[in-house]
């Protein structure tokens, strides 16, 4: 247990069929970790366990070596940015940001300085006396961030921090958010169900499925070396082939093969996976081709725009492929 933020066998049991964990995971000081998973995978619950809003049935949480499992949220010194921000509507921007430092008993000038600093950090200098209702969605998000950072927490938690923003705003905010968190140097954990967001924002990503931790790693790790069929299909596009189709790509019987669209090539008719191009979707730099194999599988191929035409009979070869046991573990 030497990691800055350590989860050790953390588990919750909601009912005999719905359980989360046990999850063990270490997060280094200053690291940004993304919790990625489909809805219902338990990623938000895991975040709330870290914040202290949920109590685990098993395991423990430690920050800087201090066991905080039984500590109430108010004493954990963990900042949180909520999905809908949860800004206090009856307080103005300045009082919202000051809320967390009032409790620490710092009064007078010092408080005003901290608020001003926190607002400057999120580029909202001079917004102290604005009403939160008057702010745009992006500004509200930044106030929520300033409020969470003002008391100088040990860990910052963010629950789907970008889901409430316009799609056009998301990509830019994503970069700014990462820069800001890195500048502050705070250890951060955030929840998302979008792979792009996890890749852009996180140093490492923890993939969750049905309450279980599937894999933790860098974006490259997850994409190139998925630990399970689930991770392979959930992170990035992938064709999953079984039986004769898998054998045609040179994988022994009983295994499942996972091939990414860019790892397939159109080759001369012969050995490989035979089929007909049934759809072509042009994206500019490249095109997606949908190939229906003779066995009836539908395979997606990413290739140059002129590589094939609809109706062409083609043979597919794989430049790389990943094999899994039918159960899901990497072979």
């Amino acid at each position: 247990m030497s990691a800055y933020l350590a989860l050790d066998g953390l588990g919750v049991r909601f009912s005999p069929t719905v359980t989360i964990g046990p999850v063990s995971l270490g997060i280094e000081r200053g690291e940004i970790l993304a919790l990625l998973g489909p809805s219902g995978s338990g990623k938000t619950t895991l975040l709330r366990l870290l914040a202290g809003f949920e109590q685990p049935d098993t395991g423990r949480v430690a920050i800087e070596g201090e066991d905080v499992t039984a500590m109430p949220p108010a004493r954990r010194r963990v900042g949180m940015v909520f999905q809908h921000y949860a800004l206090f509507p009856h307080l103005d921007v300045g009082d919202n940001v000051a809320f967390g430092i009032e409790g620490q008993g710092e009064g007078g000038r010092g408080k005003g300085d901290v608020v001003a600093q926190a607002l400057a950090l999120v580029d909202l200098t001079g917004f102290e006396r604005r009403k939160v209702q008057e702010l745009s969605g992006g500004q509200q998000q930044r106030v929520a961030l300033a409020r969470a950072l003002a008391p100088a927490p040990r860990v910052l938690l963010l629950d789907e921090p970008l889901s409430n923003l316009d799609p056009s705003l998301r990509e830019r905010t994503r970069r700014e958010l990462r820069q800001l968190v890195k500048r502050v140097g705070i250890t951060a954990v955030f929840v998302t169900h979008e792979q792009d967001e996890a890749f852009d924002l996180g140093d490492r990503i923890a993939v969750l499925n049905a309450g279980q931790l599937e894999q933790v790693g860098t974006p490259e790790d997850l994409y190139e070396r998925p630990a399970s069929l689930f991770v392979g299909t959930f992170v990035g596009r992938a064709n999953v082939l079984r039986g004769a189709a898998a054998r045609a790509l040179g994988v022994p019987d009983g295994q499942v093969v996972l091939v990414r669209p860019e790892q397939l090539r159109f080759g001369a008719t012969g050995s490989g996976l035979n089929g007909v191009v049934t759809e072509r979707r042009y994206t500019g730099a490249a095109a997606f081709y949908l190939v229906t194999t003779d066995a009836g599988d539908r395979v997606e191929v990413l290739a140059e725009p002129g590589a094939a035409r609809v109706g062409d009979r083609v043979t597919l070869g794989a430049t790389r492929r990943l094999a899994f046991q039918e159960g899901g573990e990497a072979a």
Partner: protein, 546 residues
Amino acid sequence: MIGARTVRRRSTLPAVLLTLLLAWLVLYPILIVVADAAHGEALRAFAGRGGEWRALWASVWISLASVALAAFVGVPLAFLFEWFEFPGRKLLGSLIALPAVLPPFVGVIAFLFLYGESGFVARFLQFVFRFEGAPWHLQGPGAILLVHAYSMYVYFYLFTRAGLARLDGAMLEAAQALGANRGRTFLRVILPLLKPSLAGAALLTFMTSLGSFSAPYVFGGGFRVMTTQIFASKQNGELALAMVETVALAAIALLGLALLRRTEGDDILVGLGKGTAPRRRILRRPLVRTGTTLVGWGLATLLLLPHLTLILVSLVPYATWTTEALPPVLSFVNYGRLLAEPERLEPLVNSLWMAAASTLAAVAIALAAGWLVVRRRVPLRRMIEGLLALPWALPGTVFAVALATAFSVSAPLQLRWVLVGTIVILPLAYLVRNLPVTGRAILAGYRQLDPALEEAAASLGAGAWRTLRRVTLPQLKPALAAGASLAFVGALGDFVTSIILYTYRNRPIAMEINAALRVNEMGVAAAFGVVLMVVSAVVLGIGARR
């Protein structure tokens, strides 16, 4: 298209007619009272008598104290039932909201049977401790306040629960994550967010308490508030003085309304309310769980005890219960008498038809107002809405006196006829009293209605009538049911206007209960009370169905 145009152009005339009708019903009588009150001698009498000022002050402080007491009972109750999960929570949670919608007069007599000098509690204590006489006199300001707190806590209870249900659970978690403990979270986050709800409840309690008549009438003794003072002046034949008192009470009511409205402020929750309410706490520790359950059941029983008492007393035949702690004989004989004795059946029938008639009229007016105010671009929209709401701002006694004054003179040119003493006056008074609640329900329903539905009907070739019958009215059904049921129950249990305007021929149930109490027919009075209670609950139940 041409049809629609003509309808729109012609809507000005209906709007003017409706405004005139409403003004004649709710404003004109008040103005007549104001004019009559501008009477030198009566004004001097009012200003010179200490009793008048005492009654005025009593009305104010009783109302303020009622607000405080009702909040003291209702707010903790709301937290208990909204935030904690225990067996029976749902059922009890809705049962304890009942006293507010049941007729106030029924609540008062139920209270009398339970806590009065010869009520259950007094008899029980007498029996246990062998007291000689009754252990207390349930009279004066204390008794009035007790009754008010006992019935008006519901406003705080319901408003606070609604406020808590709208509360964003993430707000509370945010406060915690920022290091706030429970006390600070409560003071800095929960309370400010509940402020609109609490202010709304305070306003409602204040206005209800200011207009409260049954409780001071039954329990006041020598202690007078303005409503009972007006009634006494009228009984003594000091009509001019009664006018001045009426105007004074009306002025206090409007002043209170204006002041409290200002503190209410705008609803700040609306802007950001996106999250979901905090989850109910499941109490895990068995001791805490048992304790909370006991407290919940105990409080609910205590609050519903008067109404349970009423049911018990209604089963006691005449003169069978003398000194015993518990009634020795129970039977349904009283209910049989309600139906078998013609002079008892009459008030039942009277109340039912008068309530039905006034409800029909109120619904018709509210529908017309809704159509004009929401759908048409007509002048006088604000005027119509204001007139509809006005009776809410003024105590029932004020309106009873105003109607009694306006319609005891025959002057057709002034639009005044002698209606007092006829069977028309009571339904008319009920109608006026019910306009605000019916109007609000139906106008709200109209506002929620998507105008595109009516336009779709028109584009499919439906005329105004067919659109109303096939599209608008069916869509408005929940609002109509709510507005009508509230109006019906209000009229059915009315005491405050009836006592001033009734005649023997059209005496309603409440007056019959009053008469029965006077000759010590407790069982009959209670049976009538139970009938009112049950009919009210059933009608409200039907009205609330979606």
